[in-house]
């Protein structure tokens, strides 16, 4: 991406223009949440100012317009994932998507002595729902180990698959290390035994194109707010065959065909899984974010981030005492690191005063931190609007941290 293009993209994000503690903001906490372009913010305003009504129920014009906007957003998400819109369920985010699968597919298909396979690098949101399901059903959680570089041990994974395995649930991209997992290989091994695969896409969607058909997965979950869209909206992709076989998640209005006190007939997917009034504005805002990214081009975004990751990795390598955690051969713009004697929280505080926003902590991956032998890491995570100035600010602030603790 040309420098002028990158500068133009940065101008699309009003929040990035501010100063923090008198310094230009270098927002490097994109794995936590991403900033929103004008078009998304304007789309939310336009929806509430001109289109707001409840969906799927009113016969008046406004309700028809809101319903169209909501269902068009579903089409946009489907196109983004290369899925049929009927395979797209709107949820609050990745966490709810995984909980939905655990509560429906999980409760109906997982029984005593069955097994669910997750990996050592999962976010708590792809561990705890399965743990609770296992407790409820008397099933067992099996863990794919990782290598020291932060990659999945695929031989160990293959050995974990048994006749008792009911689901494999793995992350597409590690939120703590940036590792991109070989989903097609993981799916191939699981499908060889007829085991469905759920992919946690929370950290993948902002970094490049996602094609659920090419990946071959059975479920794919992501959050809008990590894709430059609003908070409170996300999507679950599920294959038609699986969604049709699953019982409802939450129940109430909008998920039924007919209700009597004797018998209720549920709606077909995806509506079966969307009880109550959904986040309509969130869905149209998410679609605006996807349209915005499509306009730039996902390949260009990926190229820009690849160059920036290389630059940032080089910059960190030149700072004495910095050790990068997670050195997978295939990774996206997530740089976890520790700085010699300086605790990650102190690093984050010092960086914040220099205008550099990063995250420090366990990143909701306590089992992974245990495996890596660190209580916490500092994490700089990149997005399409970041540039060399942001990385230079990070380097300078890290030198300040070294100076204070020198």
């Amino acid at each position: 991406m040309a420098a002028s293009d990158a500068a133009a993209i940065r101008r699309d994000f009003p929040l990035l223009r501010q100063l923090v503690h008198g310094k230009p903001l270098a927002y490097l906490d994109n794995a936590s949440t991403t900033q929103k372009p004008h078009v998304v913010i304007d789309r939310l305003t336009q929806y509430y100012a001109e289109e707001n009504a409840n969906v799927h129920r009113g016969l008046h014009s406004l309700s028809d317009r809101a319903t169209r906007a909501f269902e068009e957003a579903r089409v946009t998400v489907g196109r983004f994932l290369n899925a049929d819109p009927r395979e797209v369920v709107f949820v609050r985010g990745t966490t709810e998507a995984i909980n939905l699968v655990a509560a429906t597919f999980g409760r109906s298909c997982v029984g005593p002595a069955d097994e669910i396979v997750v990996s050592e690098m999962e976010h708590h949101s792809n561990i705890v729902p399965w743990q609770i399901l296992c407790e409820q059903q008397g099933a067992q959680l099996r863990i794919i180990p990782i290598t020291d570089a932060g990659e999945l041990d695929l031989d160990a994974y293959a050995a974990l698959l048994t006749d008792r395995t009911r689901l494999v649930a793995v992350t597409h991209v590690s939120n703590a290390m940036g590792t991109v997992n070989p989903i097609t290989e993981i799916v191939r091994a699981a499908h060889g035994r007829g085991i469905p695969v759920l992919v946690d896409g929370a950290q993948a969607v902002a970094h490049g194109p996602v094609d659920v058909r090419a990946l071959g997965c059975d479920f794919y979950a992501f959050s809008g707010h990590k894709l430059f869209g609003p908070t409170g909206i996300g999507a679950l992709y599920g294959t038609s065959a699986l969604l049709e076989s699953m019982p409802p998640y939450q129940s109430g209005g909008d998920m039924i065909r007919s209700v009597s006190f004797e018998h209720t007939v549920y709606d077909i997917p995806p509506h079966r899984f969307e009880a109550g009034t959904p986040d309509i504005a969130g869905a149209v805002g998410l679609a605006a974010a996807i349209d915005y990214l499509s306009g730039i081009g996902f390949e260009r975004i990926a190229d820009h981030e690849r160059e920036l990751l290389e630059y940032a990795t080089g910059a960190l390598a030149r700072i004495p005492g910095v050790r990068v955690i997670g050195t997978a051969a295939h990774k996206v713009g997530v740089l976890s690191f520790v700085l010699d004697d300086v605790h990650p929280h102190d690093v984050a505080t010092i960086l914040d005063r220099e205008g550099v926003a990063i995250r420090a902590g366990h990143h909701c991956c306590q089992p992974l931190m245990e495996r890596l032998g660190v209580p916490a890491t500092a994490r700089a995570s990149l997005a399409l609007y970041n540039n060399h100035d942001d990385i230079d600010a990070l380097s300078t602030a890290l030198q300040t941290a070294r100076g204070l603790f020198g």
């Binding site: 503690h21 929280h345 102190d346 505080t349 902590g361 100076g403």
Partner: protein, 148 residues
């Protein structure tokens, strides 16, 4: 370098975080664990109380510079005080680190080095974690206190 950062990470704080005093388990005493679920800091505070007087205090665990320095300074300053006096001292430390940035700094001896925390509200819990654990250990022991 900004003066806020220099106020937070003044020499005494960096020194206590790098070379913590009384960082050892205490066989004879009671203990309590302090856990900050947001950041994952974990400290164990040990205390030996005889006739209501803290005869010895120590700590162990992992945490940021502020938590470790606060624990180190705390163990040095509570030895020889009654449990009630240590409690009162905790109150004064809390006032010291939550006061407005421009308020005068009360003289709490070596503990006054923690005053820079007042400019960093998100770090107050780091500084109070060992004190919460001390209070629990002195009162009953064998508990986990959290700063959530």
């Amino acid at each position: 370098m900004t003066s806020d950062l220099e106020a937070l990470y003044r020499g005494a704080i960096v020194d206590h975080s790098k070379h913590p005093r009384n960082c050892r388990p205490l066989e004879a005493g009671r203990q309590a664990h302090g856990f900050n679920p947001i950041c994952g800091d974990r400290l164990t505070v040990y205390v030996e109380v005889v006739d209501g007087v803290i005869r010895d205090a120590s700590f162990g665990g992992l945490g940021c510079a502020i938590a470790i320095a606060s624990a180190s300074l705390m163990t040095e300053s509570v030895k020889g005080r009654t449990v009630a006096e240590a409690d009162a001292l905790f109150e004064r430390v809390q006032r010291l680190i939550t006061a407005p940035a421009d308020a005068p700094v009360e003289d709490l001896g070596a503990l006054s080095a923690l005053a820079g925390v007042r400019r960093f509200p998100v770090r107050v819990k780091c500084a109070t974690l060992p004190w919460c654990a001390l209070r629990a250990a002195a009162a009953a022991g064998d508990e986990v206190v959290t700063t959530g």
